[in-house]
């Protein structure tokens, strides 16, 4: 670096420090004016930080204190529709393994089993959500036990594990009052099982706990296994799986993880490995489900040929097609009834069976298909889902898993497309219903997508608060401009003097801009501190009758979540606005002729 450059930089730094000192001195010289302006800017900042934190608090309650417990960051659900729609994941462990193999940083994978119904207490009733929670406190549910203990109003949380108590129930204080029950009383509920049967259960209130928010009051906890059994789930089944991550509050990362999981849940070919029986003649055979959409029919015709009966009668309810090889071996003819028996996956040494009427015989160059049964889609799925067959090693039958057979052979399930918004999710499910769709579908959703309206509401409310505060700042900054103009006028001779002893015009401009920058910076810091004090005070005061706002409160107190990023960006915006406001009066002051400035007299 040349000596000239070094001298130039040293000179600039010296002038920079000098400008800073002059600006600071000017601020301190007119203390009353500075304080009044500072208070105005600090007030605006305080309102901005306060409202921002309140909106973030609302969102925090909805996502991290409600949705994360009810649906996890990510929820996998499996929908079956065979006449009635039900939510049931048949092979829970397989889903859990897939989750563990593909996602990281998982805190918990929870079974989600809930029943929404009207509960009857002592002469009173109310809508109640029964939530199944595992009772193995020594394992992953330590948090739950801690939660019960900390929130306890009456009763004994240890009774939750007491096998002598029938259907232990933990209710929140408000609901206990609503149902007129105390510890030891019974709460009865009537609901339907997943198969549509009427079910009635009597629950014993073992603990009453304090609700942190109005949402919680509608919920009651009961041991998961008991609730599952009452609703009709087998131990290997569950309603849905909720995945909760460790310290993850970034929607983008959660959505990325959900996309990864969705990819990993691509279904394999659905197949029942069993024995076909016709009038005492038996043979081992694979049973596939046959799809009936346009693509499926075309693909079938490309790979197989009907030699007896018809495709239409084979795909009707109870219908099936039999491969020529199998038909020859068992002497099966069109119109015969065959019985398919197969070993069950979850019940050792147990089998299930179903009957099919042969509507067609087909020939295929694929040896596996030629010896197989193609069952109508409905009967295949209802048996495949409700009485799951033992897994078939598809690697042994890889020729039939190739792409050419994909369009017409039923998969284990239909993987529903991801839904980026709640509207999309609703439309997707509505379309499924409208299409009179039958079968099994798997869906993966994140709480941020399902409740994207909350994120939109948060962004919208924050935008409104920014605009309101900007309006406030507009008024404040009129004061800043006015004060600056007065300042310039008062200091005109001073500007002339310092210009005459060598200060450049741009330094004059910088001094005034720096003066406003320092003012807005310190005022913003003070405003932020004031906002924290205000939030601290407000969050300590419980609201007796919160009404609607109870939804956005914890323990009847307002909940604020200030974020560093948001505060810093707010302060930067305030400083930039102040600089923009101060720039033009400062520029005019810097353009004053020295002689005119020295001559100035009031």
């Amino acid at each position: 670096m040349s000596e000239k450059n070094v001298q130039s930089r040293t000179k600039k730094r010296r002038f920079g420090m000098l400008n800073f000192r002059i600006a600071l001195r000017n601020l301190l010289r007119q203390k009353r004016r500075t304080i009044l302006l500072g208070i105005a800017i600090a007030f605006g900042t305080m309102i901005l930080v306060f409202s921002d934190s309140f909106v973030s608090g609302m969102s925090d309650i909805i996502f991290n204190r409600m949705l994360v417990y009810s649906s996890g960051h990510i929820q996998i659900s499996q929908i079956e529709r065979f006449g009635f729609r039900r939510e049931v994941i048949r092979d829970k462990d397989r889903m859990i393994n897939t989750i563990n193999e593909n996602l990281h940083n998982i805190k918990q994978i929870n079974e989600s089993v809930t029943v929404i119904t009207r509960a009857i207490g002592n002469g009173r009733s109310d809508a109640l959500v029964f939530v199944g929670v595992p009772y193995d406190y020594e394992d992953e549910d330590e948090d739950m036990f801690e939660y019960l203990t900390e929130s306890l109003v009456a009763g004994n949380p240890y009774d939750y594990t007491n096998k002598n108590i029938n259907n232990p129930l933990v209710v929140y204080e408000d609901m206990a009052k609503g149902l007129n029950v105390e510890v030891g009383d019974f709460v009865r509920a009537r609901f339907q099982t997943i198969y549509g049967q009427t079910q009635a259960q009597r629950f014993t209130v073992i603990a009453i706990i304090k609700a942190a928010s109005a949402f919680e009051s509608m919920v009651a906890y009961t041991p998961l296994d008991m609730l599952k059994e009452a609703v009709g789930y087998q131990p290997h089944e569950t309603m849905a799986l909720n995945i909760v991550f460790e310290n993850l509050r970034n929607p983008a990362i959660v959505i990325e993880q959900a996309n990864k999981l969705h990819q990993a849940l691509q279904p394999e070919l659905g197949v029942i490995g069993g024995e076909v029986n016709i009038r005492g003649r038996k043979a081992d055979a694979l049973v596939f489900g046959i799809m009936t959409n346009e693509n499926a029919v075309t693909a079938f015709e490309e790979n197989a040929r009907i030699t007896g009966g018809s495709f239409a009668s084979s795909v009707q309810r109870n219908g099936a097609m039999v491969g020529r090889g199998l038909a020859n071996r068992l002497n099966i003819r069109v119109g015969d009834s065959i019985t398919v028996g197969y070993p069950l996956k979850f019940q050792e040494n147990k089998t299930s069976s179903f009957s099919l009427k042969v509507g067609g015989i087909f020939e295929s160059e694929n040896d596996i298909l030629n010896s197989a049964v193609l069952a109508n889609f409905y009967d295949f799925y209802i048996n495949f889902a409700e009485d799951m067959p033992q897994d078939v090693d598809l690697e042994k039958y890889e020729t039939v898993t190739s792409d050419e057979f994909k369009p017409f052979l039923a998969r284990e399930w239909e993987l529903l497309e991801r839904s980026p918004t709640a509207e999309h999710l609703q439309k997707k499910l509505r379309d499924l219903s409208a299409a009179r769709w039958r079968g099994v579908a798997v869906d993966v959703n994140t709480m941020y997508e399902v409740a994207n309206q909350v994120l939109q509401m948060e962004a919208g409310l924050k935008m409104i608060s920014v605009w309101v505060v900007m309006l406030l700042f507009f008024i404040i900054l009129i004061g800043v401009v006015n004060t600056l103009r007065m300042s310039i006028r008062e200091r005109t001779r001073e500007i002339g003097t310092i210009r005459s002893i060598g200060m450049q015009s741009k330094d004059v401009r910088r001094v005034f801009v720096l003066e406003c920058t320092l003012l807005s910076f310190f005022a913003s810091i003070a405003g932020t501190i004031a906002a924290f004090i205000l939030m601290g005070i407000i969050s300590l005061i419980p609201v007796a009758e919160p009404g609607f706002f109870g939804m956005f409160m914890i323990d009847n107190k307002f909940h604020f979540v200030p974020t560093v990023g948001s505060i810093i960006s707010n302060i930067i915006v305030i400083i930039l606005i102040t600089i923009a406001t101060a720039y033009f009066p400062a520029k005019r002051a810097s353009k004053m002729r020295v002689a005119d400035a020295l001559r100035h007299f009031e």
Binding site: F84, I120, S125, R188, R190, Y195, Q197, T198, A200, E386
Partner: protein, 257 residues
């Protein structure tokens, strides 16, 4: 409305032809006899009054007109009272089931597995299915069918217990009291999956119309929520053939004006 729907369904499966009485009695025989008798084969229309009493909520009376045609599994219900319900209707033809709301003048199509608005009942619940396919006789610890002879209100009856053979029935267990002489049900208890008595139906009075028995007065007692009961009364019964235009949306809409 859930209760009203269920009572409609229960009531109108209780239209029986006068049939012969079998000799050998097993529960399966009785169920088959009931299936045979329930098959109407003719059209049916009637005025139906339902009085619903709910604990702590007083009494509500619903009045309606009911039309039924079995050949294509069709029915039409038009509410005539109370004023809040008058004009609303329910039309079913085959797999299609619509709910009509007079206030909005709109039809809402309901799929078999969708709940009917405001209730936890699904349109699939209104399907006619054979009892002998859904239920079988329950057996005691000795493997003997739970079937006995009894007297109910001075009338000799068979008392028998049935259990669901399939999963998708509303009540997994029921106990029936049917007359020995003509198999008309007089009483039925319905139990939940856990074995709790949920509802008791009393078929208090029958009449005969063109050689068929029709229940004209029934009482349905909610055993789960004590104090709730519903009384159903049927009048103006006709088994005459109904005009095809009755089972159309246009007819329901016109009737509701």
């Amino acid at each position: 409305m859930y209760k009203i729907f269920r009572i409609f369904f229960i009531s109108f499966t209780m239209v029986f032809s006068i049939g012969g009485i079998g000799q050998a009695i097993t529960i399966q025989d009785i169920l088959k006899e009931l299936d045979k008798m329930m098959k109407m084969g003719t059209d049916f229309s009637a005025r139906v009054d339902i009085t619903q009493q709910k604990a702590g909520q007083g009494v509500k009376k619903y009045e309606s007109l009911y039309y039924r045609r079995d050949k294509d599994d069709a029915f039409l219900i038009v509410m005539t009272a109370p004023s809040s319900e008058a004009g609303n209707g329910y039309l079913r033809v085959g797999d299609n089931f619509w709910m009509y709301r007079r206030n909005t003048r709109t039809f809402q199509h309901i799929n078999r597995d969708e709940t009917i608005s405001g209730t936890d009942m699904r349109s699939g619940d209104l399907e006619m299915r054979k009892m002998s396919e859904l239920y079988e006789g329950a057996k005691d610890e000795n493997g003997k069918e739970i079937l006995s002879e009894d007297v109910l209100g001075g009338i000799p009856v068979y008392r028998f217990e049935i259990r669901a053979k399939v999963r998708d029935v509303t009540y997994p267990k029921q106990i029936y009291w049917v007359r020995k002489d003509n198999f008309l049900p007089l009483k039925c208890e319905s139990y939940s999956l856990s074995g709790t008595l949920m509802q008791t139906d009393y078929y208090l009075s029958y009449t005969t119309v063109q050689g068929r028995y029709v229940v004209v007065r029934g009482m349905f007692v909610d055993e789960f929520e004590k104090g709730n009961r519903t009384i159903m009364e049927i009048s103006g019964i006709s088994l005459q053939k109904l005009d095809d235009r009755i089972f159309t949306k246009a007819y329901l809409e016109n009737l509701s004006r």
